[in-house]
């Protein structure tokens, strides 16, 4: 069975995440060393480095347990809360991943070592990349001993890349990295990438120097000419040449997003995995020679899966199989999709592969945090998460809310009067966030976390628990409320272009004759009653 199904690779993608086990991180130390602009600010604003205990406030019930859980939940939710602007994203991508395999990767500041962690994350990256971008291409290049080495060729098969990466686990990183050589090789590999896809390079750079045979600025110019965008994840410190590379090749992108330095294992993973999301197609596509539309109409084949009584050879590997997909143009057999027909060069794909990308185009709106007052006014009757039926905490009375509020105001007022300087200093340190509660309307409010434990969908106004919020945004990309409640009128139907008139939906033959309004229910109800009698 498994051999017959090309989707297997997607099902078995979830691998162990040993990296995340190192949660007790050495973030502060590395933060001091790093000069990475964005990373530092983000980290300082996050609760891990800032003084978490100062953010704790008594909840309405007078304990702080809610606040502690809230902090944990905040990190959970941060991952799920995404930019939901329906960008036009470059969904057909061509990306070269450049891995540093030089001596600098022997450092053990990222555990178990930069090298092993990078290989591990790279495998996750490959799987996630093809999960998110099923009809894209990927190639991997390594930098070691002053030269560029091809780890895997440009291809659309995740397993090839993963096995190529696994082979590198046994080899030791050595020598100096050469950014120029690697970029030149990447440029060569992307040269033939068709114009309707993106051309991207992602560099994982552990060293703080590069040994190049020529002028790397010429290479950067060539990259710009070839419309290749480069992003860099640094592991040690910001390097000037990487900054130049990123700014030159991403004129429209926020340079802080394109080049960041990892602070710890978790942050490294975040930065690495961020590259799996298809990039928005920049409004100012810096490619005058291409016409400014950017879109291309691609002809593709959607073969069905067949199983024959007698085995035959597949065109791609010359292996004997009974099942496969027939190219609709030339009838040769391919054993896994997506692929290109070996005989006629037709792009063969499953319609489900295309559907896998639709959630990027029609993203689920972020849900809002429901305050106690909103919970009371909007839906006092909903006491359970709509999706998983866990009960919500009791809505406190208006009176008790007001009391808690005034108690808090008093307390923070005292604190502010006692140490005004300390408060200012702290807020400056924290960069963007002011922890002093008197300046914020809601003291218990931790950013991104709802005080009532409820999260509401802006479309259907249904409330959900945090687990369902995270799950819906990270995994299903569906709102259970919109779909389950008189679901067929909401959202999706209009925006996705799937709108067609109802008459074309096929009905089982003869249904019309059978249907006589109330009788339908009557019969069923009668039957159910009979059944109940039978049971007892």
């Amino acid at each position: 069975m498994p051999a017959a199904d090309s989707d297997d690779e997607y099902i078995q993608t979830i691998s162990d995440e040993e990296g995340d086990a190192h949660r007790v991180s050495n973030g502060r130390r590395r933060g001091d060393r790093s000069t990475g602009g964005r990373g530092r600010n983000v980290r300082a604003a996050g609760f891990e480095v800032s003084r978490t205990w100062e953010a704790l406030e008594e909840g309405v019930d007078g304990t702080i347990s809610g606040a502690i859980e809230g902090l944990l939940d905040a990190t959970k939710r941060k991952r799920a809360t995404k930019d939901t602007t329906p960008f036009q994203r470059g969904i057909i991508r061509h990306l070269i991943l450049i891995l540093d395999l030089s001596e600098a990767m022997l450092e053990k500041d990222l555990r178990p070592s930069r090298h092993l962690l990078t290989l591990h994350y790279a495998q996750d990256f490959v799987r996630e990349y093809f999960e998110q971008n099923p009809i894209s291409q990927l190639g991997i290049v390594g930098m070691l001993d002053g030269k560029a080495e091809r780890i895997s060729d440009m291809s659309g098969n995740p397993e090839e890349h993963v096995s190529a990466l696994q082979a590198w686990r046994d080899k030791q990183p050595s020598g100096n990295p050469s950014l120029q050589n690697a970029l030149d090789m990447a440029r060569g590999a992307l040269f033939h990438a068709p114009s309707h896809g993106t051309r991207e390079v992602l560099v994982i750079f552990g060293a703080i120097y590069t040994v190049d045979p020529g002028d790397i600025h010429d290479t950067i110019k060539a990259l710009v000419l070839a419309n290749i965008t480069c992003t860099v994840v640094g592991l040690s410190a910001e390097v000037a040449i990487c900054r130049t590379l990123v700014t030159k090749t991403n004129p429209s992108m926020n340079p802080q997003l394109a080049y960041s330095v990892a602070l710890d294992e978790t942050h490294y993973r975040e930065l690495f995995m961020a590259a799996t999301t298809p990039p928005p197609i920049a409004a100012a596509n810096h490619q005058p020679e291409r016409d400014d539309t950017g879109g291309t109409l691609l002809q593709m084949g959607f073969p069905s899966r067949i199983v024959t009584p007698y085995p035959s050879l597949c065109a791609c590997h010359s292996q004997v199989t009974r099942d496969g997909y027939l190219c609709p143009r030339c009838n040769s057999k391919a054993c896994s999709l997506p692929s290109e027909c070996r005989v006629c060069g037709f792009t063969l794909i499953l319609s489900t592969h295309l559907a896998r990308s639709y959630h990027h185009l029609f993203p689920l709106l972020n849900w809002y945090e429901v305050t106690w007052n909103m919970a009371r006014s909007q839906s006092p009757s909903q006491k359970h998460c709509f999706a998983c039926q866990t009960s919500f905490p009791e809505i406190p009375t208006e009176q008790s809310l007001a009391e808690a509020e005034s108690r808090k105001k008093k307390a923070s007022g005292l604190a502010a009067a006692k140490q005004p300087t300390a408060v200012v200093g702290r807020s400056e340190q924290a960069g963007t966030r002011v922890l002093n509660s008197s300046s914020r309307p809601q003291a218990t409010h931790i950013e991104g976390i709802s005080e009532s434990g409820r999260y509401g969908c802006p479309t259907c106004q249904t409330h959900f628990c945090i687990d369902c919020d995270v799950f819906s945004h990270a995994e299903t990309h569906n709102c259970p409320g919109c779909l389950a409640k008189v679901g067929l009128d909401h959202g999706y139907g209009d925006s996705d272009g799937m709108d067609i008139d109802a008459s074309s939906i096929t009905k089982p033959n003869g249904i019309g004759n059978k249907m006589t309004d109330k009788d339908v229910y009557g019969d069923i109800l009668k039957g159910l009653e009979k059944l109940l009698v039978g049971v007892s």
Partner: protein, 366 residues
């Protein structure tokens, strides 16, 4: 075969056992489209199906003390939990767990099934609460909803997945981790909960739901939750076929209505680990052809917008994608790439022989 023998010899007994002992959450999605059931009433009336389903559920629960069950109705105007349900009595006492709720419900209710001494109590409570919920569901359906020929299948699947996810999160010791970690640990930890979805479908899925349905299917593929489908009518749904094939589930069309219980017990009762040792009853040829966005024509060769991936059966008018509004360039597929290159070369050579333009020479470098 040899590899399987090796596996058995390699003293993996401990892990095998614990795998089998892991509780299974079975999410049953029951299509409750009244029109479809009216259509089926001669051969396969709904009460009979519910009765067979109850036997099937009891068999599932009897396999393992910790096995769990949920039944979700995919109705014409909504998707709703039929079991476990929230009842007014639970709203009053938030602490009450599932079983208590159902029992209270049964006591408050008008049926006597739960009090029968000859009936294993958990089975009786499920039977009565399921019937209760079904009756309520039909009673509150407005006649206007009957104009829908399809049901909220995507909603039902999303509910089932969210419910399964919550149970997995609760059973996973480290609750502070992100969903990806939760799923991976749920796969490896021996005590984790296995989950699967069984869809009893009686009416076709609407193309309107294509995107949410696909989202739900991919989510369950990522969570390793197989979607089994038993199509009660021969008008099999392409989407459901794709659902079971994408998630490694079983797709069957019910051939003999009288054999419903037999089919349920034989094809759909075996748990995921034991399915590896059985010959799957699924149909292996799957219709993967796509429906074009313009006419809902099923095509095997289509044109795809590179921006939004909409599928068209022929290049759209004026080469403007009507989903995203982008002006599209038509790639020339009539010529083979080799031919195109040769033509260019020839032109260039002519250019070099004649008037050499600097731009012509620059092209290969850029």
């Amino acid at each position: 075969m040899a590899s399987r023998m090796d596996e058995l010899d390699a003293s993996e007994h401990y892990t095998k056992e614990s795998e089998d002992a892991a509780p299974v959450l079975l999410n049953i999605i029951l299509d409750t489209n009244p029109i479809a059931w009216a259509y089926l009433s001669d051969t396969l009336p709904l009460p009979k199906v519910v009765a067979a389903l109850l036997v099937f559920i009891n068999a599932h629960l009897a396999f393992n003390q910790a096995n769990k069950i949920s039944v979700i109705a995919s109705h014409v105007d909504r998707a709703e939990f039929l079991y476990p349900t929230i009842t007014p009595s639970e709203v009053q006492s938030n602490e009450a767990n599932e079983m208590d709720t159902v029992m209270q419900n049964a006591r408050n209710g008008h049926d006597t099934a739960a009090d029968d001494a000859n009936f294993y109590r958990p089975f009786a409570t499920i039977a009565s609460s399921l019937n209760d919920a079904l009756r309520k569901l039909f009673a509150k359906t407005p006649p206007s909803a009957l104009s829908n020929s399809t049901t909220a299948l995507a909603g039902a699947m999303t509910l089932a997945l969210a419910h399964a996810n919550k149970l997995i999160v609760e059973l996973t010791p480290d609750r502070s981790t992100n969903p990806a970690v939760i799923t991976s640990s749920a796969l490896t930890a021996p005590t984790a909960l296995h989950s699967r979805i069984l869809v009893l479908s009686a009416s076709p899925a609407s193309p309107h739901q294509y995107i949410p349905l696909m989202n739900a299917i991919f989510a369950s593929a990522r969570l390793s939750i197989p979607i089994d489908v038993l199509a009660l009518t021969p008008t099999s749904s392409t989407f459901l076929q794709q659902a079971s094939s994408t998630t490694n589930g079983i797709f069957l069309t019910l051939q003999y209505p009288h054999g419903l219980l037999q089919t349920l017990l034989q094809a759909f009762l075996p748990s995921l680990p034991s399915r590896g040792y059985l010959v799957p009853a699924t149909q292996s040829a799957v219709d993967f052809r796509a429906a074009c966005f313009c006419h809902r024509k099923v095509v095997d060769v289509g044109y795809v917008c590179s921006i939004c991936l909409s599928i068209f059966c022929e290049p759209p008018e004026g080469a403007i994608c009507f989903t995203c509004g982008t002006k599209l360039r038509l790639q020339d597929y009539g010529k083979k790439p080799v031919v195109t290159v040769r033509k260019k070369k020839r032109k260039r050579q002519e250019g070099d022989n004649g008037v050499a333009t600097p731009s012509g020479r620059m092209t290969p470098a850029a």
